[in-house]
């Protein structure tokens, strides 16, 4: 071993491909100079050189670590500049950080994914992992909600996923082209039955959706320890130092981002 690694120093990565998902969301396929293995549900800090940095979940399969995919919404200073970048441009990446999903705990069970909007990137990494060892799970089911049909990400993969899992979709506001449910994502839970004694659920999405999704799952009879939440808060370091992402004494970046509702339920203001 040489010098101890500087944890703040990103590794350079070339943008190999950019996929337009929706008007405000793009998927960036990047190839880091030094590949890093990761676990689904983990995230990385992505740098736009000379601009800034932000935490993003890997949305690609973790069994293919040489190429990383991130699906990123244009919401602010750094993401706006990232959205202007082109194939061949260089970004920085450091990670992987966080715990990821505890797949072993889902073995033999019905796995219910409740996903909203840009909660799909980490959910896609999870889906790839679930499908990679599909016979280990009793049933795979995903309820996905977006605002409008235009806001659905990975449209080009939806049919493929539908062949392999039970997929239910909804949009808050439908148009003529939309053949599925209209309404918030929690309504989809009313359409399906679960073997509650043998089911776990994973909730990822915007805070308000996570809150009502969790409440709905509890109402349906899920136990707090069987509801897995991928949490998000302001974050700089990703490595348990800067303290911006704290929920009570827990670091989302280090102790999470995946928590059971059981671990969080007694803390005030977890959904903000």
């Amino acid at each position: 071993m040489g010098q101890p690694k500087n944890p703040y120093q990103p590794v350079k990565a070339v943008i190999e491909n950019i996929i337009d998902e929706t008007p405000g969301i793009k998927t960036f396929v990047i190839k880091p100079e030094e590949a890093f293995g990761f676990h689904c549900g983990q995230f990385a800090e992505l740098t736009v050189p000379g601009v800034g940095e932000g935490p993003f979940a890997m949305s690609s399969p973790c069994h293919k670590p040489e190429m990383l995919e991130f699906t990123i919404q244009n919401v602010g200073y750094m993401t706006q500049r990232l959205h202007k970048m082109k194939k061949g441009d260089v970004v920085g990446v450091r990670g992987p950080y966080g715990n990821g999903f505890p797949l072993e705990k889902y073995y033999g069970k019905e796995v219910v994914l409740l996903i909203g909007g840009v909660g799909f990137p980490p959910a896609r990494a999870l889906l790839y992992s679930l499908l990679h060892e599909k016979d280990k799970f009793k049933r795979l089911l995903m309820c996905y909600g977006a605002r409008t049909p235009q806001d659905v990400v990975y449209k080009y993969q939806i049919e493929d996923f539908r062949k392999q899992i039970e997929l239910h979709m909804t949009v808050d506001k439908a148009d003529e082209s939309w053949k599925e449910t209209e309404g918030v994502v929690t309504v989809l839970l009313d359409k399906v039955n679960f073997d509650l004694k043998n089911a776990v659920s994973v909730v990822i999405g915007p805070p308000i959706m996570m809150k009502f999704g969790t409440l709905k799952l509890l109402e349906k009879g899920f136990k707090p320890r069987d509801i897995f939440l991928s949490m998000e808060r302001k974050m700089y370091c990703g490595i348990g130092q800067c303290r911006h992402c704290m929920i009570d004494h827990l670091f989302i970046c280090k102790d999470g981002p995946v928590f059971t509702y059981q671990e969080l339920k007694d803390f005030p203001d977890i959904w903000e």
Binding site: P4, P49, G50, G240, C242, R243, H249, E272
Partner: protein
């Protein structure tokens, strides 16, 4: 009994002079507004204030500067630091920083500076009126975490070695290190007791339970947060002055590629936890105010098994709103 000796003041200064070549010595000097840690030279050797009380700057200001580049190679100071006159409340903040910047993703900059520097602490004798270490289980004299500790007794010091590096500093100076005689030991005990009672006396209107965790557990909804934050102007001084606060932001502000600056952040700032959509877990001032108290007493304790408050009083001294942590905590007990 720990290894300790008596050394005369003149002899001590001679030792210090000898260490100057190898170390950048920083020691408290008196100026308007308090004591400030400053580089020591032959010119100001005689005006070092050893006893009194803590300096204005917390140690973190050196180990983890307010703004620095954290990427790439760094130009390091030529000589390691030797901090002089650090007080017990300064030492007790270090285990928190050591853990926060240690572990799997240790900060190489902090660690290098921390490991290379030496700490010669000293007993307090004239606490500031904002000092309240004894109120939260501390003592105004060091018992661990130093390389050497100095206790001013008569015309010299009782010097105690607290580490192998501290012992090494004293090696070869047997001629000036005298055995501590009974009278000196008694004078030390007396001085320590007197300082403790001074601090207890100036804080006698406050009474805090030994179990501060329990106090916090029932106080989330208390009015205290709204009442005591009324005069807060969100300047962040309480965070910046605090020896255990270590929140930071990272930014590529130099606009150079892959150059990141790290700067102190403050949870009292309204923008501290705001995300891209404008959301924040603490939209109200009283919530941010409450967060500091919960962080100091509950969160840091759970993370690092140390109370995040050392009782140094810097947050009281620095507050434009005249907000007093002792009074706020005391009101929680009512």
């Amino acid at each position: 009994m720990a290894e300790r000796y008596f050394i005369g003041k003149v002899q001590w200064s001679t030792l210090l002079g000898g260490w100057m070549e190898k170390y950048q010595i920083l020691a408290p000097q008196k100026h308007e507004g308090g004591l400030f840690l400053e580089p020591v030279s032959m010119e100001n050797l005689s005006t070092i204030v050893y006893d009194a009380a803590r300096a204005v700057q917390p140690l973190k200001a050196f180990l983890f500067p307010a703004l620095e580049e954290v990427t790439g190679e760094k130009a390091e100071p030529e000589k390691p630091w030797l901090f002089l006159g650090i007080k017990a409340c300064g030492l007790s903040a270090l285990p928190i920083l050591d853990q926060a910047y240690g572990g799997e993703f240790a900060d190489p900059h902090y660690q290098k500076r921390r490991q290379e520097s030496l700490i010669v602490s000293s007993d307090c004798s004239q606490p500031w009126e904002t000092c309240f270490c004894t109120l939260i289980g501390g003592k105004p004299y060091p018992s661990e975490g130093f390389d050497l500790n100095l206790s001013k007794v008569w015309d010299g010091f009782i010097v105690e070695a607290g580490s192998a590096r501290g012992k090494a500093l004293l090696e070869g100076h047997d001629e000036v290190l005298k055995e501590v005689v009974k009278e000196e030991a008694e004078a030390l005990d007396k001085m320590r007791k007197e300082t403790v009672s001074k601090i207890e006396k100036q804080n006698k209107e406050y009474r805090l339970p030994a179990d501060l965790q329990k106090l916090m557990a029932g106080s989330w909804e208390s009015d205290v947060w709204k009442v005591h934050s009324e005069t807060c102007v969100e300047c962040g001084a309480c965070n910046h002055a605090c020896p255990t606060c270590h929140c930071y932001f990272l930014d590529d502000v130099t606009r150079k590629e892959f150059v990141k600056l790290r700067g102190w952040d403050a949870c009292q700032y309204s923008g501290y936890a705001v995300t891209a959509g404008g959301g924040t877990p603490r939209p109200h001032l009283y919530e941010r105010f409450r967060n500091r108290y919960f962080c100091k007493i509950k969160y840091l304790f759970e993370n690092y098994n140390r109370l995040g408050c050392t009782g140094c009083g810097r947050c009281i001294e620095g507050c434009q709103g005249r907000i007093d942590m002792r009074a706020a905590l005391n009101d929680l007990t009512k």
